[in-house]
């Protein structure tokens, strides 16, 4: 069975249709890249998969391991194993990162009927992952993303991915606002999480990120549809010729 199936998805935001029948099938272990110009609907797709309010699905389906994802609240999707790495992770003053991570992890485990982590086990796990991502301990004591640089915010997203061990990760414009060193650290973190069971959907405007996270499949989106799919060489081709050729195809 496919892990994630998006079938002929049509989505409106305030009377305007953004996705006009999008289809995408992701299998375990695969890394898919979704590329496209600004306004093609890439971020809308990621938001609808994660369950962000404000989007109206008028037609189509999203299945996760065969279950209807659109019927689930965002927190149920998270507990089932859907993870969205935000393009712009929010700052939450007054909520310590460590407290947030433990509360979220245990909420997911509870929803799945698993035992909650004890504090020592949790701390051990966080410290290991944080170390591998070069995240200093004092960052974990601060408010969630408060005062973090762009690179630190993205590393914090990768940290959560590593902790929550989701089945499918949607990375929304992970490269935005990152310099090349920060990008490399974040990408290394993501690559370390590639397993035969886990799938990733990497949404990006630029080919650059795909030098670091090498995809199995590349999709080109334009005007709310996937207009072309191919291997990783498609990304290089786009870098050469740009998106203009697809604008008309859509």
């Amino acid at each position: 069975m496919s892990l994630l199936e998006v079938k002929d998805l049509k989505v409106r935001v305030e009377e305007r249709e953004i996705l006009h029948g999008l289809t995408l099938t992701v299998n375990p272990g695969e890394v898919h890249a979704i590329m496209g110009p600004n306004g093609s609907g890439k971020s809308t797709l990621s938001h609808v998969i994660a369950g962000k309010p404000g989007y109206e699905v008028t037609d189509g389906q999203i299945l996760f391991r065969g279950e209807d994802l659109l019927e689930m609240a965002p927190e149920e999707r998270a507990a089932k194993g859907v993870f969205l790495a935000f393009q712009y992770p929010v700052e939450i003053p007054g909520v310590a990162t460590m407290n947030f991570l433990r509360t979220a992890l245990n909420a997911q485990r509870k929803a799945r009927g698993e035992d909650e982590y004890s504090t020592p086990d949790f701390l051990k796990k966080v410290r290991e992952v944080a170390k591998s991502l070069n995240i200093p301990q004092d960052m974990l004591k601060r408010g969630v993303n408060v005062g973090f640089s762009g690179g630190e915010k993205k590393r914090n997203e990768v940290l959560q991915m590593a902790l929550f061990e989701p089945a499918v990760c949607i990375l929304d414009e992970m490269d935005s606002g990152l310099d090349i060193d920060a990008l490399r650290i974040a990408a290394d973190g993501v690559n370390a999480l590639r397993t035969p069971d886990r799938a990733m959907v990497v949404i990006t405007h630029y080919q650059r990120l795909l030098n670091y996270i090498v995809p199995d499949v590349v999709h080109v989106m334009s005007k709310g549809r996937v207009v072309k799919s191919g291997g990783k060489e498609l990304a290089l081709e786009l870098e050469e010729s740009g998106y203009a050729q697809f604008e008309d195809a859509a």
Binding site: G51, A73, R77, A78, F86, V95, A107, F164
Partner: protein
């Protein structure tokens, strides 16, 4: 304006009640006369209403309508019920002094083995004693504020705490107000706390109801003087029954190089008003005033603060947070006056309200009156809903909606709670807030 105020039916009823109650009110001679004058001051104004600027958002004529007759002194059964209630709000390690239905309850209080330099008496004992100056100070009134005047006129009992120069108290003093009367009634209490020079003390005030208490009115007053180089940490928690009224005032004066840190949390009472007046009388002193309102249903809670900078080189900070759900109404009025001599004053006030429903209401009224030219003063006020983008982020990480809201509400009130200096009291405030959040979910 009419000079002669026609007495309403309820006004006349209260006059008669005062005449009857006088028999029960401790203090003779000058004290009785002080009470009579205070009652006259109250009678001239009557219950405050919305046409009086200070009471614009809290119209007691509409909300409370009348002052109830004095609660009877508690009997043995009442004391038993009050003991349970007092235990539920007890702070571990604190020295408890309990007032039940406006009467000092020695059997529920812990006055054994007081620290050297600490003296605790009931107000009744002071009013009936020989020190008439102290008695007069304890019943200090304010002719311009009818509810303080009424409290001064009617106070049946309270706590008088004296801390002698140089004393550092080893444990907090917790004054616990318990209402137990099973028929609607009013309780009037007045307490006086005096810190001598170089003293350090912590005072907690708690308000709660015993099982079966009915639609009562708690009228409380606190007079505090903090001597030179002394420090008072103060925490006030209003968890009165949801059909009760709590009309309280505190009048605090600071000497030189003194420090007052106060935190108030209101989650109880149907209607509450807390009038806090802080006066700087000596240079180099500082005050932190912080508060949290957690309201739902049709609760109405008003904090009215008056910060009086009369001398130079003093600092004041206010951080106030209101969380308002359902059709509740939160009011914060903060007035800071910097008088002409109060150069180098540093005064800042920040008040924020979080509205959890469309019908919730929050009124923030900051007022700065600055008559000195070399000062740093500022204020800010915001009102808004929970941030949807933060809620979604938390839910996308697996937190159910109510849990996500609770985490954000905790963070919102956290900034005010964090200002509590003592770890134990901060923890106590956090737990009280958590109880409210859990009851909500």
């Amino acid at each position: 304006m009419n000079v002669v105020v026609a007495k309403t039916e309820t006004g006349r009823a209260l006059s008669d009640a005062f005449a009857v109650a006088r028999e029960r009110l401790p203090g003779k001679g000058a004290i009785a006369e002080q009470r009579r004058q205070a009652f006259e001051a109250y009678e001239r104004a009557g219950l405050p209403h919305r046409r009086i600027e200070d009471w614009k958002y809290t119209d007691l004529r509409a909300l409370m309508r009348e002052v109830l007759p004095l609660a009877p002194a508690p009997d043995a059964a009442a004391l038993t019920r009050a003991a349970t209630a007092a235990k539920s709000v007890a702070i571990a390690g604190a020295r408890r002094v309990v007032l039940v239905d406006g009467v000092f309850a020695p059997s529920l209080s812990d006055l054994a083995g007081l620290d050297k330099g600490l003296n605790i008496r009931s107000l009744r004992e002071v009013l009936e004693g020989a020190d008439t100056a102290l008695a007069a100070e304890a019943l200090t009134s304010d002719a311009a504020n009818p509810m303080i005047a009424l409290n001064g006129a009617m106070a049946t009992d309270g706590v008088v705490v004296d801390i002698v120069e140089g004393t550092v108290l080893s444990q907090p003093i917790q004054i616990v107000h318990i209402a137990s009367a099973q028929a609607p009634a009013a309780m009037f209490t007045r307490s006086l706390v005096r810190l001598g020079r170089d003293t350090v003390a912590t005072l907690v005030e708690s308000y709660a109801a015993a099982d079966g208490a009915k639609a009562y009115q708690a009228h409380d007053g606190l007079v505090v003087s903090i001597g030179d180089n002394a420090r008072l940490d103060h925490v006030r928690v209003v968890e009165d029954a949801l059909d009760a009224f709590n009309i309280s005032s505190a009048n605090v004066s600071l000497g030189a190089h003194a420090h007052f840190n106060t935190f108030g949390l209101t989650s109880g009472a149907s209607v509450s008003r807390y009038q806090l007046t802080i006066a700087f009388a000596g240079q180099g002193s500082k005050v932190e005033t912080n508060g949290v309102n957690l309201l739902n249903g049709k609760q109405h809670a008003d904090t009215t603060l008056f910060m009086d900078h009369a001398v130079p080189h003093c600092d004041s900070r206010e951080i106030f947070r209101a969380v308002v759900d359902d059709r509740a109404h939160s009011v914060f009025q903060g007035r800071i006056i910097v008088r002409p001599d109060a150069q180098k004053t540093d005064a800042k006030m920040m008040t924020r309200a979080l509205l959890l429903s469309d019908e919730a209401e929050a009124d923030n009224k900051p007022e700065l009156e600055i008559f000195a030219d070399d000062v740093t003063c500022g204020h800010g006020a915001t009102t808004g809903a929970l941030d949807e983008s933060l809620l979604f982020y938390l839910r996308a990480r697996g937190l159910p909606e109510k849990d996500a809201q609770a985490l954000l509400i905790q963070a919102f009130v956290g900034e005010a709670i964090e200002q509590i200096a003592s770890d134990e009291l901060r923890e106590f405030a956090i737990l009280t807030a958590q109880r409210w959040l859990e009851a909500r979910a």
